[in-house]
């Protein structure tokens, strides 16, 4: 029977809350999205909107003493047919650990501090390869060198014995990518991978990632606050604000036809080279996530806010063939459950 299921990851009503002294921080508050095989989706939003926590939640890496998944499901289709509910697994158990690195891998923002300072880059790749694929030392070392070559590091046979502090920022990020892809995962989560890099290096890394995706075919969940980067990398985009996804759509929908005031605000505040346009910042600040009201979170800053926006949280409205916006402006449209 032919397997037509394209879904790889399906997140439904995910809630990740942080329980603090002064209240509950709803870092991720009831979000739903999905990733298909081989596609790149972007999650974009300002700092504190919950995008990083979303990615950590997928791999159950949310620090235990700070917060936990309070609801929802994360289904991973491990062989295309049968999903595993990641939220049901023990975050320290063996099943989750078999998924990490092998099925879903992650790269982080700051490669200097994300790599272990005292082990060689080779050893760090060898470690995961031996653990997840059971290779011998020799095989693992060869694999490490091969991965380093794949990500475009020159003289990988020497570099494999270097320590992270001996490499440049761009090279370190390449190493992280090599390490993440070394076990052939189906999904790569990239949490702001280029934010800490120079613009020229950033371009190289983004090119590398697209090239690798073409060759290997893994899906990418790309998290960033930079709308332009999203534009380059993603097929579909989720826009997050204060723990909620306020708009979803293809990159085309979002860029040229966005339906949520927040997204529009974001787009208006990007400087465009060549255009002498006045930058329009979104007035106000991101709400304090402890005292969230039961209205639309964006209402205080929204120039289109109506009375109902301050009273009730808007549901998701289907505003296009694949576009969803969480805004009362579209209340005439069909609600998405």
């Amino acid at each position: 029977m032919e397997n037509t299921n394209k879904k790889l990851l399906e997140v439904n009503n995910l809630k990740t809350y942080f329980y603090q002294e002064d209240g509950i921080v709803k870092a991720v508050d009831d979000i739903s999205f999905h990733i298909d095989k081989g596609e790149t989706i972007g999650i974009v939003g300002e700092s504190g909107c919950g995008k990083s926590i979303t990615s950590l939640s997928v791999l159950r890496l949310v620090p235990r003493n700070k917060g936990k998944i309070a609801g929802g499901t994360i289904k991973y289709y491990i062989d295309g047919e049968n999903p595993i509910d990641i939220t049901a697994l023990d975050p320290r158990g063996t099943e989750v650990r078999k998924i990490r690195g092998k099925e879903i891998a992650m790269i982080f923002q700051e490669p200097m501090t994300s790599l272990h300072p005292v082990f060689t880059v080779g050893n760090q790749i060898i470690e995961v390869v031996r653990l997840q694929l059971g290779m011998t030392k020799k095989e693992a070392r060869e694999r490490a060198i091969e991965m380093l070559r794949l990500v475009g590091i020159a003289s990988p046979e020497q570099r494999v014995d270097n320590y992270p502090h001996e490499l440049s920022g761009g090279m370190r990020q390449r190493v992280m990518i090599a390490m993440a892809l070394s076990c052939d995962p189906n999904l790569l989560i990239a949490d702001e991978p280029t934010t800490a890099l120079d613009v020229t290096i950033e371009a190289q890394i983004l090119d590398l990632m697209q090239d690798l995706q073409n060759r290997i075919g893994m899906a990418i969940m790309f998290i960033t606050h930079d709308l332009q980067v999203i534009g380059e990398m993603s097929d579909r985009v989720n826009v997050m604000y204060a723990g909620k996804i306020v708009e979803t759509g293809t990159i085309d929908d979002i860029y040229h036809n966005s339906k949520h005031p927040y997204t529009q605000g974001l787009l208006k505040s990007i400087p465009q080279i060549g255009e002498k346009k006045r930058l329009v910042p979104i007035k106000g600040t991101v709400p304090n996530t402890v005292d969230l009201p039961s209205s639309c979170y964006f209402a205080p800053r929204c120039e289109f806010a109506m009375e109902i926006c301050h009273k009730k949280e808007p549901p998701d409205f289907k505003v296009g063939s694949e576009q969803i916006a969480k805004c009362w402006l579209h209340k005439s449209r069909e609600e998405v459950s």
Binding site: L56, L59, L61, P63, N65, R92, R97, K98, I99, R100, G101, K102, A105, M106, F108, E110, T113, S114, L115, H116, P117, V118, E127, V128, L131, Q132, Y163, H165, E166, M176, M179
Partner: protein, 328 residues
């Protein structure tokens, strides 16, 4: 790496020289010398001739000439002949006294060091990983008490408890029955029993400090990004802590050789006075109060040298563990 070692060794020499000057100067500071005390007696015995006699004695003891001359003589004899001088009080070679005492001091110190490590590591890791648990609070509590107890008092209290409630022999290195006896298992066991309280007492201060430092380091490191990367690779929590975190967090343990050892040696000095252990502390105290110059200065020099060597070893170990230090 080799250049690092050579450089450190080279630095040690001038440091040792300065230490020797400081040690000697400290001894020379009080007015008069060992013989001054005997002045009164001698004047009685020898009347007028006392002065001449004392001058002669001074020459024999090497107490004549200026301080600088004395220092020069002392230091050259150490460097070229390994002769630390003579004790006025005991009328023996200082070298012998040092040999007798130093081994015991180093022995106790090293045992205490290992005891401190063996106890501190599991407690520190556990406290950090299970932060705010009952055991964490309990250990923290003991750590605080340990830091606050003057160690000679702790020695007395423990001795009291051991004596009253456990009927243990206390004080001294070994029971009287074993003195002068050849080495045997029973003798070793006896010495070991006598060592328990000193090691606990001397180690307690350092233990408390080490546990807290370790706990703090681990807590710090556990929040770092590379730990998250390690977890995201699918490594078990145990591997993450004991391989990734520990190798960084254990740096203070390694560097403790540098600062813990002098502390232990110091602590041993006082405790051994209370517990009657024939270590350097006791000898030093009596040498100082009697102005037994060569003994005192030599002891300070030897102890400092051992400390310096300890620091060097710990720095080398640190460089070995953490490549970032090597390449600096």
């Amino acid at each position: 790496m080799l250049t690092y070692i050579v450089r450190r060794l080279a630095f040690m020499i001038p440091t040792l020289l300065v230490i020797s000057v400081v040690a000697f100067a400290v001894i020379e500071l009080p007015p008069g010398d060992f013989l001054t005390q005997q002045m009164a007696q001698w004047e009685e015995l020898y009347g007028d001739r006392a002065e001449v006699m004392i001058e002669n004695m001074r020459a024999i003891y090497g107490l004549d000439g200026s301080a600088i001359e004395r220092y020069y003589r002392w230091i050259t004899r150490i460097v070229f002949h390994g002769d630390f001088g003579r004790s006025f009080l005991e009328n023996t070679r200082v070298t012998d006294i040092i040999m007798n005492r130093v081994f015991l001091t180093m022995g106790i110190s090293l045992v205490t060091l290992f005891f401190t490590w063996i106890v501190a590591i599991p407690i520190g890791v556990y406290s950090a990983v299970k932060q705010y648990s009952f055991f964490d609070y309990l250990f923290t509590f003991f750590a605080f008490i340990g830091r606050a107890f003057p160690n000679f008092a702790l020695a007395l209290v423990l001795m009291y408890v051991a004596y009253t409630y456990f009927d243990w022999p206390i004080g001294g290195l070994m029971s009287r029955s074993f003195r002068g006896e050849p080495l045997s298992m029973a003798k070793i066991a006896d010495v070991a029993r006598h060592m328990v309280i000193p090691v606990i007492v001397i180690g307690t201060h350092g233990l408390a400090g080490l546990v807290r430092v370790l706990r703090a380091m681990i807590l710090d490191e556990m929040n770092k990004e590379y730990v998250q990367t390690a977890r995201s690779k699918g490594l078990s929590e145990r591997v993450v802590i004991w391989k990734h975190v520990f190798i960084i967090a254990c740096q203070p343990i390694v560097s403790t050789i540098g600062w813990l050892l002098p502390q232990i040696v110091s602590g041993a000095a006082i405790v051994s006075i209370v517990m009657n252990l024939p270590t350097t502390g006791e000898a030093l105290l009596s040498a100082l109060t009697n102005q037994d110059m060569y003994v005192a200065a030599s002891f300070i020099l030897v102890l400092s040298t051992l400390t310096l060597i300890g620091t060097l070893i710990s720095d080398l170990l640190l460089a070995f563990i953490d490549p970032r230090i090597r390449y600096n």
